[in-house]
Assembly symmetry: C2
Homo-oligomer: 401 residues x 2
Amino acid sequence: MEQIDKLKENVAIILPENGLEEKLKLIAKENRKLVIKLGFDPTAPDLHLGHAVVLKKLRQFQESGHQIVILVGSFTARIGDPTGKNKSRKPLSTGEVKENAQTYINQLSKVIDIQSTQIVFNSDWLDNLSSSEMIQLLSRVTVAQLMHRNDFANRFSENIPIAMHELVYPILQGFDSVKIRCDIEMGGTDQLFNCTMGRQLQESHEIPAQTVMCMPLLRGLDGKEKMSKSLNNTVGLTDSPNMMFGKIMSIPDHLIPEFLELVTDFTQHEKEEITKQLSGGENPILLKKKIAGNCVKQYYSSEAAKEAEEFFRKQFQNKDPENRSYTPVSIQSPENNTDTISLISLVAQVMHELTKSAVRRLIENGAVTVNGEKMTDSYKEIQVLPGTKIKIGKRNFFELK
Amino acid sequence: MEQIDKLKENVAIILPENGLEEKLKLIAKENRKLVIKLGFDPTAPDLHLGHAVVLKKLRQFQESGHQIVILVGSFTARIGDPTGKNKSRKPLSTGEVKENAQTYINQLSKVIDIQSTQIVFNSDWLDNLSSSEMIQLLSRVTVAQLMHRNDFANRFSENIPIAMHELVYPILQGFDSVKIRCDIEMGGTDQLFNCTMGRQLQESHEIPAQTVMCMPLLRGLDGKEKMSKSLNNTVGLTDSPNMMFGKIMSIPDHLIPEFLELVTDFTQHEKEEITKQLSGGENPILLKKKIAGNCVKQYYSSEAAKEAEEFFRKQFQNKDPENRSYTPVSIQSPENNTDTISLISLVAQVMHELTKSAVRRLIENGAVTVNGEKMTDSYKEIQVLPGTKIKIGKRNFFELK
């Protein structure tokens, strides 16, 4: 039972609730391994820490002696989005799919044991499906069932077009589970609907329905949306140690518990210690360093983790103001042709993406220094002299030309 | 222009409104015939007068020198209803489809010139559609467009399951129009949606969109529902002359104008004459005889029409009461053990499907005779004697045992 608890740890949804126990009983009776499927879309092969949440769970199953099957969605990737509406989904050539799959497999090996993993391509069976077999397959699912998927229901009610092939894709994904005859399908919680389709299609093909196990979706560096390449908020598994460390240091403080749980491989005891420190008011930067270091250690080494921390310290902390590189800026002459300008106009000119009111708030909050002196009066007149150094917030350094 | 008016006569819907004129202009420019498609489902090959409404319109086009293409839906018929929910739609073997198609073609030749008609089977292209071509095809249509079809919208809102392949069938029907490159698709008004799908798919394949011409749906012998084999209210094109004549005589009076317009081939002048007689209070039986005779003449001959009328007269009119076959019935002894029974109880016993109040209305309306004598008093006591002859309405003849 202890092993089962470990396998269920951090899993957000198990469907049906006792599905893991059932499948373990079944394989004990049939004297075989669990077959666990994870599907991936070869259009975006760059893996990040969000993918790793699921992959680390797969590794646990591998370590318990079970069979992982990685399903490469080569059929759908080669079709892409035929409407052309979704530019991020261009059809890929067979060569591109293979290349992406290889990239993906190389990255997978950072988390799971790729030697004992089975890798299959759904074009192997979907390409050969005849038109009448396709119709037979579609007949096993109703429109209403598909329209229950949240994004379909929302788009339908908001009159945002859903092309028919989009409705078909979850059925094809479910058919993959029929072909693989998997006991378990894993995925993020956003895959719950599609995985449930697999249960239905297996049953209608008289195969025991798979158990669905969904892992939580890790949020990205913005602290809001799920980690996703298209949102540019990821920590990639192939990021350099310094990059990985620095990115994790940049997460908002409220993500610390989530990253501690889903990204690190600390023991339960270590996690509890860090959680205690967090609630005890410890400086969040210290806790993020622990998380960042643990993460680099997992994907590289302890050595690399130490070096990355040192690099971070040199780069972003204990900064020597003299060595800081300032961006040279030109300031437009003020209207009255004097050689001074109000602080607010000066800052607004160098930070032109900010509104005047945002600039005023920055100044009033003490985020602006001129030649090392904090300035909180927006209408203070500043002499426009070459070499004047302006610091705005933590990261913006300018020097007047 | 006179010819166009004739071609548009009785057409319920033309889409777009000036679509026939446009297509005639187009073919004049391209110096070719119109290509006019009519699809048919080879699961139910018995043609009836409802089908003939469309077929007669096709014959008009033929007579004007245009090309008719009959599309046999052999692909979908061979798939049938894979859910098995619709028992009337069993999958057919290739042999059965061929056999049904031949039956259908034989019957078609009763209305159109089959020699100059092109007959095509959609399995010729749909069978060879690859799974990815199928997905590409589906991508050209949105879910919302399909859900506009009345029966889909109703079933969806009433939570009656729609299997996914049902949603796909209109797309396949539309694809047939792409393959045939037809200028016009004909059908009943119930085919408007599916024909419109053909317009969309032709356009998305960069072919000029077909014009849709829908003929009215002829109602069946019940006077309510559209004529349909499954409703058992049809006059079949292969019905014997006597059967055809008798069935048309049985239509409710309110169908006379509809049958006059859609079933007969009377001239405009003749139709106007009959319409005048109808509104002038002429006996509807005489007018139905004209319609029935005209119909038999179309599908058989003037000779056959005369014989059928004579047969009808002998069978149902000028009946010799002595030769009429009476159904023997036993009457339950009345409670008071006398040998009489009230008329209403007597009639209620032999017509056990009628309510007492219906029986009373029959009697009061003079529809009941006992031994040739009309009886209008429901509570008249009748002697229960073997051999007593009871006539109820026009068709029910009983004799007490």
